[in-house]
């Protein structure tokens, strides 16, 4: 056997490599799937907060021991021992006796070990407490203080209130590094007001005896027991997470349906488990489809190579038969060489695949994943053995069934040509039908990734059929043109049956390469688009509530006065899911800072939404004096006699950007004047934004009211010309129109059908607020804004609003802040930037102004999260498939050379004997292969691109698709062309090397028999 292998070591190496490749492909499937599952589980668990991964049972009815008994024993291996805490809500009177604050008496396992005792000691006995340093600073306790505590119970539940006295024995701090201590006492509440509760302070840590012992300060009516099981992340993997989720869910169901005792279960493990399960399922399908294509390709190639190998041994088989070994003996002779080689290849593949997987895992997965030999891997290895055995036995059977006289011929008799033709035509028809089904939408989902193989198989086989006639035609033309060597080379290309097989394989392999690169790059592009859309900008800093937009704007302008790198983003969502959010930004900075995936900043007319470019009417002073002059002012209707309610007022925006309405004076009826003097909240300068006329309810008012001779703190003050004001009307038919008396003093021409007409606004205030919309809004429409509902006017469109949901609209925050509306809108404030350093400066500035950042997310963070998904990992497998397909194509060519080089060298030697020089021989041999490879690679690449256009929209790009669709399936031409170009160069380079190698062996000595 060894002598045979040595004799054909090149071929043997190819066979071994192919069998190894086939096995690696097969084994990589389960390995990759497993790694993906583990990667997904690891990623989900890593991204989850400790609160989400722990299980917490709270109850006021059950004791901690009773809660522990509820916990299923099956979960014990995955969780640490439970931490128990007890809490009783109490009120304590401050040392100065001014008022009481709300806190909890809190006892937790290991509190004394984990807390830092700043002074005093940790409580050990009943009635001893330890308070936080913030509590000390805010409320003034001292170690040794005796404090009366009163139980805080819901009066609807009980009238009995326990009370007692505790002693402060120490002061604690929660170590900053212990953020994952889920049983840590509640802090950060000292001096804050908790809605519906009142002023609160941090937990008072005490010993359990203070709550439960007989000598406790009081016999508390309501003690909440809490038992917490922390998930041991090292003990949990994909499989155990899928087990844990449903068990915890059962526990939740039991808790919900629990008898009389109220038990609250806090965890997100069932959701995490479900997410991992669905992600794994999704990835599995794509992996199977991608790997199976490669597997089929490698199997076909292995079959081709084995057919070539057995053909190469036909003379030896004939000898075995002539020496009386019979068909069985001949088969044994053949298998004794082929089986060890191919099974050796299987062994190599089995051994190598975990290492390949480890390499791939390092590149693909964001978290370290263990490479596990699972049952699937063993099955895959066995399947590889079976597949290799089947292919080898079939190839051997085909050879040994050939009659001896046929074996003695140089080439086998073509008695199966008809059958082969039928199979080929059937394959072409099947492939084209499947592609047609894909185009018509009947083939979808992961199966769509079969498109490149199907299309390429059909194209390759059709091309193979056309190869003969075309090359004959070309060679005849070349021959007539006197280019005999080129003609002979081209004819040589198709003379051997291997040429068609190589052509078909090159087409399929390059099609897979083109498709895989297309799929990979498209996937990356789409995830990048989605990340940009989700995060909105390179850096997005969310701010803690309450963060007043005006303060944020001021801070940002201080850092970035040129509006280049920072923009505030205030997103207001109305009540109800049907209302699209309004995004208020800095229109100068926003187009520079934000991402516009699949679109561009230039798409929006940003100047159109800028707040009016008129100067604000600044009023500084604490007293405003002047005269109100009426002209034909009439008050009608049932309330016409309530003249004391007819008032003119000034609307100002104070320095802290709050709108206030300052009543100036009563308005005389008919024609008259009256002087007024009123206080102003404008010591630090206000901006006058409107003039209002307030009328009593049930009246109709009309006429002109003029304000003249105005002085602020004695200095003359003008409300400006008529053009500095805008007419305002409302839906009830009321209107206010700017007017002026002959001296040019500003007046208000008012006409009201209802009680109070609208406020006449300064031209500095936008009304309605211009907006860029993404929906179908036209004209003026109402929308939520940070300070309440406002009128927007669609002045332009955008494809999408970065970082926001469907139907969002963009307005100028500056303009919105000039508006007089006041309210508690449901808004979130963020700062976006394209420059990390500028953002850091902004963060410092915000902190200075008492605005605390909540979370910074970068587009890379979001991209990483999207990358850590089965959908992304499945597409990453394309790299392997594409690379392996080129490797397979190269192996096919090597094997074709290995099995035919002797005959080719003999042909060339005969031509050398006929006088052909060496360069011509090399050219002839090169021309014999290069056109086939070039045509095959070009057609294959085209098939890959076409298949990607057809199939990629069916391939899932995201595990959880984002709400705003930014997927783009345009062909990434540069990447595809580069990949196909590299593939072509590799294949062509190999052809050059092998043809020169063969030509070098065309020595005249080959004309001898051995």
């Amino acid at each position: 056997m060894w002598s045979r292998i040595r004799h054909r070591r090149f071929q043997a190496l190819s066979l071994l490599s192919l069998a190894a490749l086939l096995t690696t492909c097969l084994c990589l499937g389960p390995l990759y799937q497993r790694a993906m599952e583990q990667g997904l589980a690891g990623s989900v668990l890593t991204q989850a907060t400790p609160e989400q991964t722990s299980v917490r049972l709270d109850s006021s009815d059950l004791s901690a021991e009773e809660l522990e008994r509820l916990f299923p024993a099956r979960l014990d291996p995955y969780f640490s021992d439970p931490d128990v805490s007890l809490a009783a809500p109490v009120k304590v009177v401050l040392p100065d006796g001014s008022f009481s604050v709300v806190t909890r008496l809190y006892a937790a396992d290991g509190a004394c070990e984990r807390l830092e005792v700043a002074s005093g000691r940790c409580p050990t006995g009943s009635g001893e407490v330890m308070v936080s340093t913030a509590d000390i600073e805010t409320n003034g306790w001292t170690v040794g203080s005796q404090v009366d505590v009163t139980e805080r119970v819901d009066p609807n539940v009980s009238d009995e209130v326990a009370s007692g006295t505790v002693t402060v024995v120490g002061v604690y701090e929660v170590p900053p590094a212990d953020g994952d201590w889920l049983d840590a006492p509640l802090t950060g509440r000292a001096g804050t007001v908790v809605p519906e509760v009142g002023t609160a302070t941090d937990d008072w840590v005490t010993a359990p005896d203070s709550l439960t012992a007989a000598d406790a300060p009081a016999q508390w009516h309501k003690i909440t027991s809490s038992t917490l099981w922390t998930l041991d992340l090292d003990a949990v993997d994909h499989d155990s997470l899928l087990v844990i989720g449903p068990i915890v869910d059962e526990l939740r169901q039991e808790a919900l349906q629990g008898n009389s005792a109220a038990v609250l279960l806090l965890t997100d493990l069932p959701g995490l488990s479900e997410r991992v399960a669905s992600g794994s399922e999704q990835g599995r399908t794509t992996v199977v489809v991608l790997i199976s294509q490669l597997l089929v390709l490698v199997s076909v190639v292995l079959w081709m190579v084995l057919v070539g190998a057995t053909d190469d041994r036909r003379a030896e088989l004939a000898l075995a038969r002539l020496r009386g070994r019979g068909r069985r003996g001949a088969a044994a002779y053949l298998l004794s060489e082929l089986l060890p080689l191919t099974l050796g290849g299987v062994a190599v593949g089995v051994l190598v695949s975990p290492f390949v997987m480890a390499l791939v895992a390092k590149i693909v997965f964001p978290v370290p994943v263990p490479i596990e030999v699972t049952g699937g891997f063993v099955l895959a290895a066995l399947a590889a053995v079976a597949a290799v055995l089947a292919v080898v036995l079939l190839a051997a059977r085909r050879a040994v069934r050939e009659p001896v006289d046929s074996l003695l011929r140089a080439v086998p008799a073509r008695h199966t040509a008809t059958g082969t033709g039928v199979i080929e035509i059937a394959t072409i028809v099947f492939s084209l039908t499947a592609v047609a089904a894909l185009v018509s939408g009947r083939l979808e989902g992961p199966l769509a990734t079969l498109a490149p193989s199907l299309l390429a198989v059909a194209a390759g086989l059709l091309l193979g059929r056309a190869l003969g006639p075309v090359t004959r035609f070309v060679s005849v033309r070349l021959m007539r043109g006197g280019r005999a060597v080129a003609a002979a080379g081209i004819v040589n290309a198709v003379r051997r049956p291997a040429a068609r097989r190589v052509l078909a394989m090159v087409v399929v392999a390059t099609a897979l390469l083109g498709f895989c690169v297309d799929a990979l790059v498209t996937g990356q592009h789409n995830r990048q688009n989605a990340a940009e859309q989700l995060n909105g900008a390179p850096y997005s800093l969310s701010l803690q509530r309450p963060a007043r937009p005006a303060d944020v704007v001021a801070a940002l302008r201080a850092v970035d006065p040129d509006h280049r790198h920072l923009t505030p983003v205030v997103t207001t969502t109305g009540n109800g899911s049907l209302t699209a959010p309004t995004v208020a930004v800095d229109p100068r900075a926003f187009p520079r800072v934000a991402f516009f995936p699949l679109s561009s900043a230039e798409r929006g007319d940003w100047d159109a939404i800028l707040a009016p470019g008129v100067d604000p009417l600044v009023l500084t002073g604490t007293t405003l004096e002047g005269t109100v002059a009426s002209h034909e002012v009439r008050l009608r209707g049932p309330a016409r006699k309530r003249v004391d309610d007819l008032v003119v007022s000034l609307q100002v925006l104070t320095s802290d950007v709050t709108t206030e309405l300052v009543d100036l004076s009563l308005i005389p009826l008919a024609d008259g004047t009256t002087a007024f003097s009123t206080g102003l909240p404008c010591a630090e300068a206000c901006t006058v934004t409107g003039i209002g006329v307030r009328a009593p309810i049930g009246s109709e008012v009309s006429g002109t009211v003029v304000l003249r001779d105005l002085t602020a703190d004695g200095s003359p003050f003008s409300l400006g010309p008529v053009t500095a004001w805008r007419r305002v009307s409302d839906d009830l038919g009321s209107s206010v129109v700017p007017a002026a008396d002959p001296e040019g003093n500003l007046g208000v021409l008012v006409s009201s059908e209802a009680a109070t007409p609208p406020v006449m606004l300064s031209a500095w205030v936008p009304s309605p607020v211009p907006a860029l919309v993404t929906g179908r809004e036209k004209g003026v429409f109402a929308a939520p804004a940070p300070e309440g509902q406002i009128d927007l006017q669609a002045v332009g469109t955008l494809d999408r609003v970065p970082g926001s949901s469907l139907g969002s609209r963009v307005v100028d925050l500056d303009g919105v802040l000039r508006r007089p509306e006041a309210g508690d809108g449901n808004y979130a404030v963020e700062v976006w930037s394209d420059d990390a350093r500028v953002l850091a400066r902004a963060e410092t500035e915000l902190r200075k102004r008492g605005i605390l950042p909540a979370q910074l997310t970068t587009v890379d963070d979001v991209r990483s999260e999207l990358d850590a998904s089965p959908a992304a990992w499945s597409l990453a497998l394309s790299v392997l498939v594409g690379g392996a397909s080129v490797l397979v194509a190269m192996l096919v060519m090597l094997v074709a050379t290995a099995t035919t080089w002797r005959a080719r060298a003999n042909d060339l030697a005969a031509l050398r004997m006929a006088g052909l020089p060496s360069p011509s021989l090399r050219r002839l041999e090169l021309l014999g292969q290069l056109p086939v490879i070039l045509v095959g690679a070009l057609v294959g690449s085209a098939c890959g691109v076409v298949a990607a256009v057809l199939a990629l929209p069916e391939v899932r790009q995201f595990t959880d698709p984002p709400a705003v669709d930014t997927t783009d399936f345009a062909t990434p031409w540069v990447a595809v062309l580069v990949a196909c170009g590299v593939g072509l160069v590799l294949l062509a380079g190999l052809v050059v090397v092998t043809s020169r190698w063969t030509a070098r062996r065309a020595r005249l000595g080959r004309m001898r028999e051995v």
Binding site: R4, R323, G326, R327, L408, E1009, V1010
Partner: protein, 292 residues
């Protein structure tokens, strides 16, 4: 280099196998047309005889040799080797025949050996089936065979280092390794120089003479034919004549036809009327000159 035969005749192996063919016809089926390679060959070779099959290219010599070797079945007629009718033999019987009784030496020495083995290894390879057929005890050893063809020192040399003559002798050792009763050799001396050719032919003659092996040699070389005690000329798929001890004979076929030798056709072109006359106990052909 000597070619002394030191291979002793076997007690159990056949001394030589007789060959008989009757009405042997073989047609090659091609795409669009059939070609009759043999058109009724009646040939008898006695056990232990050595004959040469002569004839031009395409006459059917190699086809006849292949049929005698049982490589395929004839279109019509019978082939009997020893006691076995090859046209009725099972695959197993044919395998046994090839393992023990009939050796075929293909044209071109390289086609008879595995190129990656040495001569000695090729002999071992050739003997495997014979050993399984319970003839192990009768099989000659490798050194004996190599010595027989004068390649004692070259048994372990790679084959590509042997000269064409040495390679053909090595081939002869291989085909004799199963101690066959019938040795069929297709152009065993083609592409050999005279010296090598003579050595190979001498070896074949001695195998025939000293072991009693029936030897059938296909050749188109008249010089080679001179080494054969009996030659049979195949022409157009039929027996065209025989030569014995340098004399040429026409052979009457089983159905009474008498093919004339080629050179006679120059004198007696097709359509010539001849009269067969018995004179003094001998038949004479007399050409009818006046054919009007």
């Amino acid at each position: 280099m000597t070619t002394e035969l030191i291979l002793a005749p076997s007690a159990t192996a056949p001394r030589g196998l007789a060959v008989h063919t009757r009405g042997l016809v073989h047609v090659y089926r091609g795409e669009g047309r059939d070609v009759a390679a043999l058109a009724g060959v009646d040939l008898s070779v006695r056990a232990g005889e050595m004959i040469g099959l002569l004839g031009p290219s395409g006459a059917g010599k190699s086809t006849l040799l292949s049929l005698l070797a049982g490589l395929f079945r004839p279109t019509a007629g019978t082939v009997v080797v020893g006691d076995l009718d090859l046209t009725k033999a099972t695959a197993s019987e044919l395998d046994t025949l090839h393992a023990t009784d009939v050796s075929l030496m293909l044209q071109g020495a390289a086609r008879n050996v595995l190129p990656f083995l040495t001569a000695a290894q090729n002999i071992e390879f050739a003997q495997v089936a014979a050993q399984r057929a319970e003839r192990a005890g009768d099989l000659p050893g490798t050194p004996t065979l190599l010595g027989m063809v004068g390649l004692s020192d070259l048994g372990d040399e790679p084959l590509d280092r042997l000269t064409p003559g040495q390679l053909q002798l090595a081939t002869l050792a291989v085909v004799l390794s199963t101690r066959p009763g019938l040795l069929l050799a297709d152009e065993p001396t083609s592409r050999l120089d005279h010296e090598a050719r003579d050595r190979v032919l001498a070896a074949l003659a001695r195998v025939n003479r000293e072991l009693g092996t029936t030897v059938v040699v296909v050749t188109h070389d008249r010089d080679v034919a001179r080494w054969m005690p009996r030659t049979v000329t195949i022409r157009d798929g039929r027996i065209g004549g025989e030569g014995r001890s340098g004399e040429e004979y026409a052979v009457v076929t089983a159905d009474g036809f008498l093919p004339l030798p080629a050179h006679a056709l120059e004198v007696l072109p097709p359509g010539t009327l001849v009269r067969l006359e018995l004179e003094d106990g001998e038949y004479r052909l007399r050409v009818e000159r006046d054919q009007s």
